[in-house]
Symmetry: C2
Subunit: 366 residues, 2 copies
Amino acid sequence: MNPKIKWLRDKVRLSNLDGIIISNPVNIRYLTGINAEGTLLITRKENFYITDSRYIEYAKSVITINDEIIVCNMKDISKEDYENFFLFCDNVGFEEDYITYLTYKQYMQKYKINNFEETEGIIEKQRIIKDEEEIGYIEKACQITDLCFNYLTNFIKIGMTEKEVAFEIEKFFIQNGAEGVSFETIVASGKNSSKPHAIPSDKKIELGDPITIDMGCKYNGYCSDMTRTIFAGYIPVKIREIYDLVLKNQKQTLKEMKDGANIKVISRNVENDFKLHNYDLIHSLGHGVGLDIHERPFINSKNDNLLKENMIVTNEPGIYVPGVYGVRIEDTVLITKSGCINLTKSDKNYIIVDEQDVTKYKDIIS
Amino acid sequence: MNPKIKWLRDKVRLSNLDGIIISNPVNIRYLTGINAEGTLLITRKENFYITDSRYIEYAKSVITINDEIIVCNMKDISKEDYENFFLFCDNVGFEEDYITYLTYKQYMQKYKINNFEETEGIIEKQRIIKDEEEIGYIEKACQITDLCFNYLTNFIKIGMTEKEVAFEIEKFFIQNGAEGVSFETIVASGKNSSKPHAIPSDKKIELGDPITIDMGCKYNGYCSDMTRTIFAGYIPVKIREIYDLVLKNQKQTLKEMKDGANIKVISRNVENDFKLHNYDLIHSLGHGVGLDIHERPFINSKNDNLLKENMIVTNEPGIYVPGVYGVRIEDTVLITKSGCINLTKSDKNYIIVDEQDVTKYKDIIS
C-alpha cells in the first residue's frame, strides 16, 4: 500500500475512528498524487477515490495497483452505495477546517453517518515535516526563484509598469521548468510598497522607488516564496534606516531558526526590536511552505510550538510606512538539527536596478 | 447608501433576519467593490467591513462616505466588540455554502449568536441577473478573448507545446487589458483532447491533432469563457462526425436559449441528440458566468428553472472518445427577452492552423 495511505489508516485507527472522508484536494494530492477534484474515503477495509467523468481517466492513470485505491466515477455510485461505505461505523472523521457547513450536512445525510468527528488538521499536521522528495521539489522551486531574481536585476528598468514586471516573472517561471506561480506575484513600487499585499498595477517604476517583489513558483506541486525590496536608479537615504532594520532582523531570525527553537520567542524578538525603533511587525514573521503556499507552522508570536527538523518555513520581517514606502525581506528556509538552510539564496544587500547618476540632483537623494 | 447594500438590508429584513455575516470575498466584492480578505457584517443599524492590517489602507481607499460601511481593523476589535455587533439579535444569517464547519462554530462563539440561519445563496441568487455595468465588463472580457483567439489562429504551429500556447494566451490577455485568466487555460491536443479538463502539458502539437482551447480572462473582476476545437495541419476525416454533431447542438442550443426557456429541457435536448448518435454529454451543458467563472444558474438536466433576461451563461456541449480525441465548442451568451446574444463571437467552422498539404499522404488523412 502507498505508505502515506498506510500512515493515515494507522492514524485513523489510533484516533478511534472507523474511517475518514478527505475532501481537501491538497491533502488528497499529498496522499495519492492525484491533482483533481474528488473525495478520498478511507473505510474500514478499503480506500476509494470518488471523482467525476472529467477526471476519471486521469485519476486512473495516476493510481497504481500498489496504491490500493479504488477509483470510482460518482455517476456510477447509487444512494445505497453511499450508505454502505461506512456501514456499521461508529465514528467517521472529516476535515472541519475544509468542508463548508453545507457539505458537512450533506455528507451526514449521504453517507448516513452516526458520529462525524472533527480531525483537527490530522493530515496538515503530518505535512509540516517534509520528506526527502518534498524537500527536493521545494529546493528546485527555490532555485528557479533565485534564477528569476537574478534575471530581474538586469531586466527591470525605470518606466516599466509593475504589471509588466509581474508578467515577466511568471513567464520566466514557466520557461524555466516551473508549473507556474505559487501565489499572485507582488510587484509594489514607490508608495505601493507600503501595502504589504499590493496587487501589481499600471503604475510605472520611477527613479528612487523602492520595489518590493514577493514571488514564488511551483515545482511538482510544491511552492517557493521569496521577497526582496530593491531600488530603481538609486537608494533614497531615508529608506536605509528601515531597510537595515528589516535586514538585521531577518538575519538574526535565520540564526535563531533551528530544531527546538520556540516560534513565539523568535517572533517576539523581531516585534520587540521593531518596537524599540518605533515600528510594528504588522503581519506574521513567516509560515510553512509546501503543497500550499501558506501552511503550518504559522510563525507568529501566538504560536508556542517549537521548530522541528525538516520543517520548511519562511522568514519575512517587513516594515511599512503607510502611504510612503515599505521594505520586506523573505527567504524560504529548511530547519535542521543545528540551524537552518536558506533555500532561497538571492542577494539581500542593497540592490539598485537601472542605476542612475543622481549626484548632480542634490535635492532628490534625500 | 450603496444600492447593493441597501438591497441586502431590505432582503435581510424581509427574511426575518436581524443581520447577516458575509464571508465570501466574491460576494463582498459584488456588494462593496472591495477585492480583499475580510468579513462584511450587516447589523441592525450599521454595516462593518472587518479586515486586517494588510488590507486596511486599500479597503478605506475603495469605500466612500456614500457606501455607509465602517472599515475596521480586526486587531482593534475586542472580545466585547464582537459580542456587541449582534447584541439582542435573534436570527443572524450566514453563508452555509461558503464558510467551513470550523468557521461556523467559531462565529457562533465569537459573535455569541443565538440562532444562526442558513441563507441559501441569498447573494449568489441576486448575482444571477447582471446589471448594465456587469454586462459591459463581461462583454469586454469576451472581446479580449475573441481577439486572443484570432491571434492564436496565426500563432499556433505544429511542434509547439501545449504549455507554450497556454502561456501565449495568458500573455495576450494581460497585454490587451485583462487582469489575467479567469481560470486555468486548457490547451489539449491530440488524445489529450479526450480529457475535458486536461492540464496543458509538454506534449508537442502534431500534424492532424485536434486542439481544444478553453480559455477566458477577467475584466474588472468579471469573467469570459470560450472553447474552440481547432486542427493542426489538416482535419482528420474521422473527427468530422463528432465535430459536426457538437456544433449542430451548440447552434441549436443558441436558438433555444432565451428568457423563459426551461434549462432542463434545453439540456435534455442535447443529451438526447448525443444519445441518438451513441455518445453521452458527460458534463453540464453550461453555467452562469460573472465574478465567478462558474456560478448560478447551472445549465444541466437537473435544473428545472427558467432562463431569464440578463443572465449570462455558457453553452458548451462536448463529446469525448476516451484516449482518442474530443471536441468542445463553447460561447458565453447573454439571455434576452427574444433570444440570446453571443458575447464570444469567434468562428466556429472548421479552423486549421499551420495548414499542410497532406493529399500526397493518403494513409494519414483518414
